[in-house]
């Protein structure tokens, strides 16, 4: 029996002033699984992502992660340095705006190499080779390794961000609208790349988006959120092809079929 990698148990978060972020969210994510979370702005999906990724302490419920493969541990009972270590080794967070996920004054190679240096890599040649390898895998020409991210297009920046995360071979990545703000053709290319990498590396992922095409392509399972609550869960294609909840039906029917 495979062990769960991430587990949410009745996770809820309310903001000061009582505004509801999300409420009573439970699920288990297993190694290599990709979970999509969809809903419109204000549905609580970003709050949930914050709680799951250790950045926002839930006001209710527990988030557990299989730390170091030694069994599930409450993420928020870890000490801050333990949690930060997790974030730069086993976890990765792909942010919507690559500026939030990259060091803009550090070269592409330095950005990718940082996580290696953070865990003690001290051989320049090896670090550089690994950075070059990962940049190639995300389709950045190796001639650009020493260029600053600001000289890159939005799609390239996003790919550097992904390389920067994957270099540490995380077991779980969180993606917050990974294709948001990109041109449609660039989105498609990025999605193909992400799908390929997620498959090849067997990495588990939680993908938060309002774009159903993104989850159709990337995720195995889907959670539909509305007003802070999960209204429907299931296989991605089942939820999209045969939505049960009124809100899921509305969401699916609102998208033009391409």
């Amino acid at each position: 029996m495979m062990k769960a990698l991430l587990e949410a148990e009745s996770v809820g978060h309310s903001y000061p002033g009582g505004q509801l972020g999300c409420e009573d969210v439970s699920f288990r994510l297993y190694p290599g699984e990709v979970l999509g979370v969809v809903g419109e702005s204000g549905s609580g999906k970003s709050t949930l992502l914050g709680c799951l990724s250790g950045m926002l302490e839930p006001s209710n419920g527990i988030v557990r992660f299989d730390v170091g493969g030694q069994g599930l541990r409450d993420v928020f009972s870890l000490s801050e340095p333990e949690r930060r270590l997790l974030m730069r080794t086993d976890w990765g967070i792909v942010r919507q705006n690559p500026r939030d996920g990259l060091r803009m004054n550090v070269s592409a190679g330095g950005n990718v190499g940082e996580r290696l240096m953070a865990v003690g890599a001290r051989n320049y040649g090896n670090i550089r080779n690994e950075a070059l390898d990962w940049l190639t895998r995300v389709e950045i020409p190796s001639s650009r390794v020493d260029d600053l991210p600001r000289t890159f297009s939005g799609g390239m920046q996003q790919r550097v961000q992904i390389a920067r995360i994957l270099v540490s071979k995380p077991r779980l990545i969180f993606m917050d609208e990974p294709t948001g703000g990109l041109d449609v053709s660039v989105q498609a290319r990025l999605l193909d790349l992400l799908r390929g990498l997620v498959r090849d590396l067997g990495v588990a992922a939680v993908v938060v988006t309002h774009d159903l095409a993104v989850v159709r392509l990337l995720s195995d399972r889907l959670m539909v959120m509305r007003q802070g609550r999960v209204v429907e869960t299931g296989l991605t294609d089942q939820v999209l092809d045969d939505p049960q909840h009124p809100y899921s039906q509305l969401l699916v029917s609102s998208v033009l079929q391409a």
């Binding site: 699984e33 392509l217 399972r221 045969d242 009124p246 509305l250």
Partner: protein, 235 residues
């Protein structure tokens, strides 16, 4: 259930669509369907258009969620209700036990035909070289022109797409196969190749449920017919 060769048992299955956006209007498709399929047996679903053949097939693949009843699948030697089991087991069943050939199957965009097929083979544990070899052999048998192999099927003709779909469904020796119009849009010689592949799957012991309007083709591989229209639920 004691009979060892049983692979699929459908019990009292009902499917009704509820359209919440239309004031909760109910669209009943079928009610109280029960049937069984054994290994090496092919059951063809028949019934007039709109009788729910495709809806039933999609339900068997967990693409549609039944409103009531059970779909018991022999998965890794155990009976599992694919309608109610947790999502990751559904995925596992799709990966290991049930193959699906459908003209409506959504393929992943922008991926070449050969990669689409070999990915399925690789997901079954085949090495990528062997997967490419097996996929190529399959496409060759299905007579898909070689210059199309590295092209995503989106721009293909119906017949070409259908051959990619057949290859994806047959590249692994799934114990259960769901075929939705496997020979549609194929010319005579290609239809013959498809039928041969289906017969081979059957003889290796696959339990097959098929929708096939082409009666000549159907008669070649179907052992019995199952009329879905008799379960048409009253509105």
């Amino acid at each position: 259930m004691t009979q060892k060769s049983l692979m699929l048992q459908v019990r009292n299955l009902r499917k009704t669509f509820t359209l919440h956006g239309r004031g909760g209007v109910q669209l009943p498709v079928f009610n109280d369907i029960s049937f069984e399929v054994s290994a090496g047996e092919c059951v063809a679903l028949i019934g007039s258009s709109g009788s729910g053949k495709s809806t039933l097939l999609r339900s068997l693949y967990a693409n549609y969620l039944p409103s009531a009843g059970e779909i018991l699948v022999k998965h890794h030697g155990e009976w599992v209700d694919i309608a109610s089991v947790e999502a990751r087991t559904k995925l596992e069943i799709r990966r290991e036990t049930i193959g699906y050939v459908s003209q409506f199957l959504r393929v992943i965009p922008r991926i070449s035909s050969i990669d689409l097929i070999s990915e399925v083979a690789i997901s079954g544990g085949m090495s990528s070289e062997i997967a490419i070899e097996v996929s190529s052999a399959l496409l060759r048998r299905l007579n898909l022109p070689e210059h199309l192999w590295n092209v995503p099927p989106a721009t293909f003709s119906g017949g070409e797409q259908q051959r990619v779909n057949i290859a994806m469904g047959l590249v692994r020796p799934y114990p259960i196969l769901l075929l939705d119009e496997p020979t549609a849009s194929l010319d005579a010689s290609n239809r013959e190749s498809a039928i041969e592949l289906i017969l081979e799957a059957k003889s290796r012991g696959a339990a097959i449920i098929a929708i096939c309007h082409d009666e000549t083709a159907r008669d070649r591989f179907a052992d019995r017919l199952f009329d879905v229209s008799q379960f048409k639920a009253a509105a």
